[in-house]
Symmetry: C2
Subunit: 241 residues, 2 copies
DNA sequence: CGAACTATTGACACCCCTCAAGACCCGTGG
DNA sequence: CCACGGGTCTTGAGGGGTGTCAATAGTTCG
């Protein structure tokens, strides 16, 4: 039942397994696992949560909303992501997290965070790392939404999703799972659903991508990166310290 | 010369002064101070820096750029902000930081970060907090750029700037310094300079705001928040742990 | 087989961008 | 003191990218 193999709290050296001491420590920190169905809320904007989660498997979205219903998804959630850092460290969540597929989460009690920081500088580093990485992804998304055309945004977003899927070992050279709806993409890119759909159609017609039955097919990743005006840098896996 | 009074690395309890031990520790961590002129680069996207900075005074912007020159400012930089967390924890900066006014920065050597995390869980918490806060600000900005109209974006951005100025003790009830150019605002909001200017003019005509000679005047902050479709929540100052 | 959700497509409107020119502001040097 | 120059702000005209509305088709699941 207790499984730490996919826990993001070991970014200090992503290739290093936990030492026996660390493993024992982490198992003690872990409170259990949580399974949620597809399309369920995990954490809600404005709420405080006594728990902090890491994603063992499944996909989701982080999003923020305006009262009148407008929604912005700020990032896509992948296995290995940390959820609830904000609620752990501030008073409340500043964004919501919802599952897109069924997910299973690793549960950590927030009140033990202090012990973690005190007793394990490696884990402290990991959490700083996780925060910095999230900030970096948000910045990239902000650049897209603020300064790229619809076509570029879509290309960049699909490239990123493809890249992150590959990084967690999903899909193969040209294929990747694509669990999100067009509406989620539109909300992530600051576009309307209709325009997202039309732009996607055009990209399909051009043979740039294929997307059906929750699978994304990209023959030429570099071309996609070029269309998206992004430099195709793979995920940095190995922090320095 | 060594002054830690405005250092963000004490968010654990923002009202608590450093203990003598902590003070000694931080002074030892600090490598010196750096003064930069207005309009100078501090840290560049893609570069690694051996230093981490905190802002003692002055203002700046964080920004990302596309090769063809398009620029997105991701956040405004205020005194008390931490700069270079990404370079400290990942391999390189994912965004640039430039000074808007003259700034003086507190310099910390990156290679001593590990000691900091190991010896001071309070500081570790502070850094996690700083990262989470930055993420929260970016998320708010992303929501604006993706889902708000030009008018709303401007109102929200000015409200936020006003609010952050007040939080650091600048300005008074209705006045606040406004060091940035319209171009910076436009780049932060994903708008063109021209449209930013026209929308601002309209807001001035309506008496919603005044802005001249680097000073922002807002008589009715709540009205501004309403126009921006934001809930006027003040900065959270007191994290829980 | 129906219900609910998701994707697709067309028509039309408008918000915002681009281009372009001029005004203002301010430091520098003759 | 005034001319000059660069940066910033302002204003107008016109075009295009994207949003909204609305209706239909396709898909999934009970």
């Amino acid at each position: 039942m207790i499984d730490c193999s996919n826990c993001p709290l070991r970014k200090h050296d992503v290739f290093a397994a936990f030492t026996p001491t660390e493993e024992r420590f982490m198992k003690e920190f872990k409170a259990g696992e949580l399974k949620v169905d597809a399309g369920s809320p995990v954490l809600s904007e404005g709420a405080a949560s006594p728990y902090l989660y890491s994603v063992l498997n499944g996909f989701g979205v982080r999003s923020k909303a305006i009262e009148d219903g407008r929604r912005q998804v700020t990032n896509f959630v992948f296995p290995g992501d940390l959820i609830g850092l904000q609620t752990a460290v501030m008073n409340a969540m500043e964004h919501s997290v919802d599952s897109t597929t069924a997910m299973t989460l690793c549960v950590f009690p927030r009140e033990r965070l202090w012990d973690l920081l005190k007793n394990s500088p490696e884990r402290a580093f990991d959490m700083v790392w996780a925060g910095a990485r999230e900030e970096s992804l948000l910045g990239e998304n902000l650049l897209s939404v603020g300064r790229r055309t619809a076509r570029e945004r879509l290309a960049a977003a699909l490239w990123n999703i493809f890249s992150r899927m590959r990084a967690i070992g999903e899909g193969d050279r040209a294929h990747a799972p694509m669990p999100w709806r067009q509406q989620d993409l539109a909300d992530a890119l600051g576009l309307s659903l209709v325009h997202t759909n039309k732009t996607l159609s055009r990209m399909k017609d051009e043979g740039l991508i294929q997307w059906s039955s929750s699978t994304l097919v990209v023959e030429d990743l570099d071309q996609l990166a070029a269309v998206g005006s992004i430099e195709a840098t793979p995920e940095r896996k190995r922090p320095l310290i």
